[in-house]
């Protein structure tokens, strides 16, 4: 088989070698016998072989150019959108991409996706109350607890900086609870938003890699509440409000296990 034109000269039982077949060859969609047949045919057709080599190089160039985009950390606004948190304002994304703050939880939203499907979109500019705080905390937990490469913005190795930074942004003195006795070490934290203000998330991890997150926000409307519990899917949350500062502890733990840790966190936050 030498210098066979495309489609000609193939055995009668085999389909002709046309562009469809060449595309499938380049894209790895042929079975071994067909692949071998095309390779053999290309050897005998140098012009077509050069064309196919260029097709292959085009693909390699595109993958080399754009694969790094897929390796970038997922912008928080997109992670939150996937978790079902709507954005009230169109202009967010650019701000969110540029700023550290995560804006996707504004507008009093912050329910899980399943709830969003059943309820009307939340109104904009709802003051942050304890229930919304808990909803925000649970969504933020779901989004970031699964994050392998970028679970936190600032790691625990920079704990002093982390606490100082988040305290300044929250406008309240933040304390990172110590949970080593419960088997959890601090991974780090990140700045998020709740309602229209900033919020902080601290992440803890135990030896099995199970993660719990503490979520703190200021200016919660109900100035003082008792411990309350909320279950959103797998994520359990205990939350309370103390002098206008809201705290929420979320994890995929039993209510009892989470309550025990919440009590310890609460006691450590008392002056």
């Amino acid at each position: 088989m030498t210098n066979t034109p495309p489609g000609g000269g193939a055995p009668p039982t085999s389909p002709p070698i046309d562009d469809d077949m060449l595309n499938a060859y380049v894209d790895g969609r042929l079975d071994a016998p067909s692949r071998a047949r095309v390779a053999q045919w290309l050897e005998a057709n140098p012009e077509e072989a050069a064309r196919i080599a260029d097709w292959q190089e085009t693909g390699e160039a595109l993958r080399a150019a754009f694969d790094p985009v897929a390796a970038e950390p997922v912008p928080a606004a997109l992670a939150m959108a996937a978790a079902g948190s709507p954005r009230p304002h169109r202009s967010w994304l650019r701000q969110a991409a540029a700023a550290v703050a995560l804006l996707a939880l504004g507008g009093g939203a912050g329910f899980g996706a399943a709830e969003l499907l059943r309820t009307a979109p939340p109104q904009e500019h709802v003051a942050l109350d304890a229930v919304h705080l808990a909803g925000n905390a649970a969504v933020a937990h779901r989004v970031f607890a699964v994050e392998v490469r970028h679970p936190v913005e600032v790691g625990a190795e920079q704990q002093a900086h982390l606490v100082q930074w988040l305290s300044r942004r929250l406008g309240t003195k933040l304390v990172a609870p110590r949970l080593e006795a419960q088997g959890y070490r601090l991974v780090g934290g990140r700045l998020l938003s709740a309602g229209e203000g900033p919020a902080a998330q601290l992440m803890y991890e135990n030896r099995e890699g199970k993660r719990i997150t503490a979520f703190v926000a200021n200016g919660v409307a109900d100035g003082q509440t008792a411990f309350q519990f909320r279950q959103q899917g797998d994520v359990a949350t205990f939350y309370w409000v103390d002098n206008g500062t809201g705290y929420a502890l979320s994890g995929e733990l039993s209510r009892e296990a989470l309550l025990e840790i919440s009590r310890i966190v609460y006691s450590q936050l008392q002056p």
Partner: protein, 169 residues
């Protein structure tokens, strides 16, 4: 019925990659991804379990992008070279940055239809049948657009914004 929204986040990296290659500019691309994710959440009940979640998401993104391109005001102005420099900017280590920029610039000179097919196949690795579903065209159309896109990239690699065919090694 499994709630597809619980697995949406797995697809964000690929959606971002495709959107970036499709529209060129990072902020516009992520806007498109966010629109896509929000629509997927709000229409989760429409997802058929039998289909692939990935294909469904690419279909949503295609429809949003097609609508946006129809309204001229939102059509991104492709400046091939500038886009290429922004895209490939920092990613050139062992690969030839100039060559990649030329490939990206050439991509901007394809028709939108050619670009979609080429990216879905060569970048995202979708099967031809999936591409036909995503774009809502017969598979024969997919195949002919794919050949034309590849041949056009080849021409551009020899003469277009790229002076020589890109070499990635």
């Amino acid at each position: 019925m499994t709630d597809p929204t619980s697995r949406l986040h797995e697809h964000i990296p690929a959606l971002r990659r495709y959107a970036r290659a499709l529209v060129g500019e990072a902020a516009l691309a992520d806007d498109l991804v966010q629109d896509c994710l929000e629509r997927a959440v709000s229409r989760a009940h429409q997802w058929r379990q039998t289909g692939s979640l990935r294909g469904w998401l690419f279909t949503i993104m295609h429809n949003i992008n097609a609508n946006q391109r129809r309204s001229a005001a939102r059509a991104p102005a492709w400046d091939p070279i500038e886009r290429a420099e922004n895209t490939v900017g920092q990613n050139g280590q062992q690969i030839d940055r100039i060559a990649l920029q030329e490939a990206v610039a050439a991509l901007a000179l394809l028709t939108a239809e050619q670009r979609q097919v080429l990216l879905l196949v060569a970048l995202e690795g979708l099967r031809y049948e999936e591409v036909a579903q995503v774009l809502g065209v017969p598979i024969g159309t997919v195949m002919s657009r794919l050949s034309r896109a590849r041949d056009r990239m080849r021409e551009l690699g020899r003469s277009g914004p790229g002076r020589a065919l890109w070499r990635v090694k």
